[in-house]
Every structure is written in structure tokens, then in C-alpha cells.
Symmetry: C4
Subunit: 123 residues, 4 copies
Amino acid sequence: MATIGSRLWAIPEGYIPSGGLKGERALVSHEAACILNAGEADAEIEITVYFTDQDPKGPYRIRVPSSRTRHLRFNDLTDPEPIPRDTDYACIIVSTQPVVVQHTRLDSRDPHVALLSTMAFAQ
Amino acid sequence: MATIGSRLWAIPEGYIPSGGLKGERALVSHEAACILNAGEADAEIEITVYFTDQDPKGPYRIRVPSSRTRHLRFNDLTDPEPIPRDTDYACIIVSTQPVVVQHTRLDSRDPHVALLSTMAFAQ
Amino acid sequence: MATIGSRLWAIPEGYIPSGGLKGERALVSHEAACILNAGEADAEIEITVYFTDQDPKGPYRIRVPSSRTRHLRFNDLTDPEPIPRDTDYACIIVSTQPVVVQHTRLDSRDPHVALLSTMAFAQ
Amino acid sequence: MATIGSRLWAIPEGYIPSGGLKGERALVSHEAACILNAGEADAEIEITVYFTDQDPKGPYRIRVPSSRTRHLRFNDLTDPEPIPRDTDYACIIVSTQPVVVQHTRLDSRDPHVALLSTMAFAQ
């Protein structure tokens, strides 16, 4: 087992387009935080979402078990409330265990597919 | 509240295409610095813009309040002067508080959309 | 010779689309770990692949000689077993020598080409 | 003036497509190292290029003056020799002064435009 990662991550650039291809889930516009927990203990994770002109929302809670990855789509978050579409946001990810976080967006509004990805920022 | 980030950031790759889709703001070619201030104090930020063969411009001043994100489009900067289109540039971002900065470009010259993003470089 | 890099890297975002352009290898959908060994000694590398709901696979073993780069396509891995298509995965890369790792995906399902890339996360 | 950056950088993922749109320089397939020198002294830079199965080439020498950025296209390098097209490569960038380096590719083989970018890896 490898101990790699951080317990505190930030992704400043968040935006879920409301438009795009429909149907096949893989090609629907989405934004994801891909989280890898390569350690021996399960990670309990809290995500807080920040906006331009309103108070933060959350926390959104997820678990990433030991030796597993979870590619979390922000589109799928509903508890405590969905993340608004077509709205600038950002997030802070706090984990009980070291994890590694990568940010990816698939945008199919065009309707051709565009992709972006970057490692999130670790403190 | 989380204290995360740095007070000094650099983005070496800047370029605002003059072409691209018109009309809907979300699909106009643009370049953005997405800034997250997850801390307790408002951040006063100065951006200096660098070029290949002329002196730097700026500073451009913006504020990112506590617990807010701002997705700043370089296209929108006008004070002290607009950033020229179709011109290579770079920038340094200095903040009074720790912030996290991510760089994103949407290029719709094609006119199909292409995206890039990366975390900026923190000192 | 430059000593640069790390012996432990993570890429949380892995996904090999089964669709896309056929024929010319350069435009087939693929995911790559681009590894640079700028040092004086050959690097023996082990890659472990993580999933959402099954145990990790691997290790996959490759060598990157001194002063060489290898742009490894995850699509090409077959020993101990191929990586499943259309499935979320992540990976940990362990090297006997310092190397630098960059993650890239070319997605031609659209069938237009989309690209993403980020430096992997180094411990 | 800000002192920001590193004197040693790596970009593992290099590939210059031979195909793509012709004519307008901005849309020709290209790969760039965007270098920012925000410091007070000019930076003398040496780039060494690595391959999969041949010895490294270079050094390629460029200067980035104080308070300037240079968006260097690998396509344009000719001394000591051009970088081959359609060939995997990587590079190490060594500077006499701290600089910041970002890697970008525009790929117009499709012929629709795809983009990728990431901060290079700093030692």
C-alpha cells in the first residue's frame, strides 16, 4: 500500500453546463473530482462548494474506501442540495485520510466534446 | 474555514483569441483566472501582465471576498487598459490573503469549442 | 544529466473510451502516462491500477532507460491483464529512480478529437 | 518585481503532429513551452530533448529577458536540428534565473482544434 496524497484540496474552477449531448451518460456534459485512496483506511470526505455571490453550500459527504478510486460527478450531488447549472463555483475537499484529487470536465454543449483536466491544488 | 493557497501565483500561458463564436457569453472565446478565497478575510489582488516585447501592464486590481470564488475573465479587464487580443502574454497574481488560482481557456475560433485548464504555479 | 522527479506518482483520473476513430494509431482514443527518466540509471517501474468496486490489478512492469522517455499507453497493457474499457480507474506509479510523469488522454469518440493533460501528482 | 519559479523544469509529454490546418499560424498544430521571467535579470535557457530510442538532442538555447514572457514553439526550433514530427519526445529546461514554465499543445489534425495545457514539473 502506498501513502500518497493530502487531506486538503482545492478546485477553484467549477462550472456545469446545462446544455450538451443527452442520452449516453459518458457523453453528457459533466464535471468530476476523481479521488484516489491508495491507503489502508477508508477516507471520509467532505466537500464544500463556494460561489461568486452567495454563501457556501455543503458539506457534501462521500466515502472512498481503502484501495479504491471514485470519480465523483458534481452533477450527481443532491444532498444537501443540487449544484446549480451554468453557475461559477469552486470547492474545498477535506478528507480524513490522504487522497489524491484530479479535476476533469467534459463539455458537450458544442455538441462536439471538449475536455479539460488538472490535478487539484493540495495544501 | 480552510486556510489554503498562496499569496503569489504565476500563469505563463496567456492568449485571448479575437475570433470565435459570438453572442452567448458562455461560448465566446475567453481566458480566465479562477480564484478561490476560502479564508476568513477578503483578498485584495493585483495582477501584472507580461508580454514578449513590451513592458508589463497593470496592476489590475480585484477583490475576492471571504468564502467566495471569482472566475475572472482577462477579456473583461479594462482598467488601466484592455489586454490586447491575439497576443502572447503571461501574468503574476499577488494577493493579500492565501488564495488558489486555476487557469482556463475556452477557444471557439474553430468554431468548435476547445478547452484547456491547469492549476497556476504557486510560490 | 539532471536529477529531477519523484519515485512515487498518482493519477486519479483514468478512463479508456472503447469508441472513437479507428485505423491510424495516433488518432485512436487512448490514455497515456508519459514518463521521463533524465537520470543516469535505468528506472524499473511498477504500475498498480485501482477501480471503483474491485481490487487493484497489477503490478504492470515497464523499464524506462537512462536519458529516455516512454509514452506508455494504458490501452497497450496486457500483462497481467488488459485494463477494461469504459471503466473508471486510477493508478499509482512506483519507480526505482526519480522520473517525471505526465498524464494525457486523446478522446476521439465524438469522432472529433478532444485532449486533456496534467502533470501527475508526486509525493 | 517578483521572484517566482524554478531553474529546472521537465515536460515528459511532447509530440508535434505533422498534420492539421495550414496557413494561419495561430491554428497550425504546435507545441509550446510558455516561459515567464518575472525577475530582474535576463534568463539564459537550455533545453534538452529526450526520445524513446535515441540519444538526447540539444541543447537548444534561448533567452527570456527580465520582465518578459516567451511562448516558445518547439516546431520553430532548428538549431542544432529540428525536432522530428509525429515522434514522442520529452524535455528538460534549465535556466540561469527562476522562471515559470507551462506546456501547451494545439492539435488541428482533426481538423477541429483540440487543446491541452499543464504547468511543467519544477524541481
